[in-house]
């Protein structure tokens, strides 16, 4: 049976992890490669690296990180942040990334999804969709960009449907209402998107305890769940989380 995936997300700036990761097991917790290896050995199913580097010059360090991760880690990983052109995608995939995620750039230019899917294949094109509750929209949610500051004017579900039709292979759905709250995933939002499109949906934003993962898989119909700080700060241990989910009857690796 296809397993539900658990995906730690690493924010990377200038090749180093940020968000105050606190790992006593690791000699260098700021090393994205060490942290990625640790999560892989813990049973993470995939990894996401989000490049929050501000300058184009420093983005080069991301390419060398991607190369190191690809050499050392035997699970799939996605790279997102600052990917705007086919050349950016080509650079990441040829360095060893399995998938790339695009967000604002796809909202600004919808046909970017078509071009990437036809050139590189849908399997490596992840649409990152940041959604915010807004009753003025038919689904009740609007797609937003720039970290939630800018409304896109697009209904979140309509945008997800369009992205799937244009060739996105997967949707990384982040609730801007829940992100950072540790209050649980946005179950309603996740179910609305996941049950209405036929590509996999990764739920993100709001993970605080193990039950939250169970709920977003069972009630939110998520195919995968992503979290950052609960893993980085040891609030949730991946082997323990998987045991819990397994006992709850949710298929996990």
């Amino acid at each position: 049976m296809l397993a539900k995936r658990i995906i730690p997300c690493l924010d990377v700036k200038d090749g180093r992890t940020v968000k105050g990761v606190n790992f006593v097991q690791l000699r260098d917790a700021g090393s994205a490669l060490s942290l990625a290896s640790f999560y892989s050995s813990q049973g993470a199913d995939e990894l996401v690296f989000l490049d929050i580097t501000a300058t184009v010059e420093n983005r080069k360090t991301m390419v060398s990180l991607v190369r190191d991760v690809a050499r050392n880690i035997s699970i799939p990983f996605t790279v997102g942040g600052g990917i705007r052109t086919e050349e950016d995608v080509e650079r990441m995939l040829s360095s060893g990334a399995d998938k790339i995620s695009i967000n604002s750039s796809a909202i600004r230019e919808h046909s970017l999804i078509d071009r990437l899917a036809s050139r590189f294949g849908s399997q490596c094109v992840v649409l990152a969709l940041d959604a915010k509750s807004n009753p003025a929209f038919p689904s009740g949610y609007e797609a937003v960009i720039d970290g939630g500051r800018t409304p896109s004017g697009l209904d979140a579900l309509e945008w997800a449907r369009e992205a799937a039709l244009r060739g996105a292979g997967e949707i990384l759905l982040t609730s801007m209402d829940k992100d950072g709250t540790k209050d649980g995933f946005a179950v309603d939002l996740t179910r609305i998107i996941s049950s209405n499109i036929d590509i996999p949906v990764i739920a993100s934003g709001g993970a605080g305890k193990m039950e939250d993962f169970r709920t977003v898989f069972e009630d939110g119909m998520a195919d995968a769940a992503l979290a950052a700080s609960v893993f980085h700060f040891h609030e949730i241990d991946i082997p323990e989380l998987k045991d819990y989910l397994r006992q709850s009857g949710i298929p996990v690796r």
């Binding site: 296809l2 799939p76 060893g96 294949g121 399997q123 995968a224």
Partner: protein
């Protein structure tokens, strides 16, 4: 020497990285002589069937691949191309296996591509010697090979059983990605490389 067949398909680097982790050097090549003289040949692939076949035919690699006698490992698209034909682009393929590659039916409410970790069962290839029934492997595909007499392991997706792998003589083919499947994938790669 291990030859990795070079053609216009993705994920070649992932395969070579995995071989490197296991301590094996490999050569990426489309040179017929190098491929024929290799101890083992790996045929990776993520991509689209008709353009991949067009490339292989143009570069004279189709007849080379079909006539290889050394241990051969096809991965993902590299397995599908070893079948007789594919619904993807209605493509005639290499024909080592008699099967026709089919598209997962749409509109059943399931997610396509079949993406993520799924279990394999009914293992019957020697390269699975160190694996167990029910091991999880990483899959990403929208087309599948039905069960046949050459099926060497079975995967099930939402009620549909299909070939997770095929085996015929020296041809070992895997629908999933052993190079991206953690320890479970490394075990079978090692068995293949060590010549089990």
């Amino acid at each position: 020497m291990i030859a990795v067949i070079k053609y216009n398909a993705g994920n070649v680097l992932s395969v070579m990285n995995a071989l490197g982790r296991l301590g094996y050097e490999s050569v990426l090549t489309d040179d017929e002589r190098v491929i024929r003289n290799a101890d083992k040949v790996i045929f990776p692939g993520v991509g689209e069937a008709s353009s991949a076949m067009a490339y292989l035919n143009e570069h004279g690699l189709s007849s080379v691949i079909k006539s290889l006698e050394q241990p051969f490992l096809g991965i993902c698209l590299g397995m599908q191309l070893m079948c007789a034909s594919s619904e993807e682009g209605n493509t005639e393929c290499l024909g080592i296996f008699p099967d026709r590659v089919q598209q997962f039916p749409k509109g059943r409410g399931w997610k396509i591509p079949h993406m993520g970790w799924n279990t394999i069962n009914k293992l019957s290839d020697s390269i699975f010697r160190d694996n167990r029934e029910g091991d999880y492997l990483y899959f990403v595909h929208s087309f599948y090979v039905p069960l046949s007499e050459y099926t060497s392991s079975v995967c099930e997706y939402d009620g549909l059983e299909f070939s997770a792998s095929l085996k015929k003589g020296n041809f070992h083919c895997l629908q999933f990605h052993p190079e991206k499947s953690g320890d479970a994938g490394e075990k079978m790669l090692r068995c293949f490389l060590e010549g089990v």
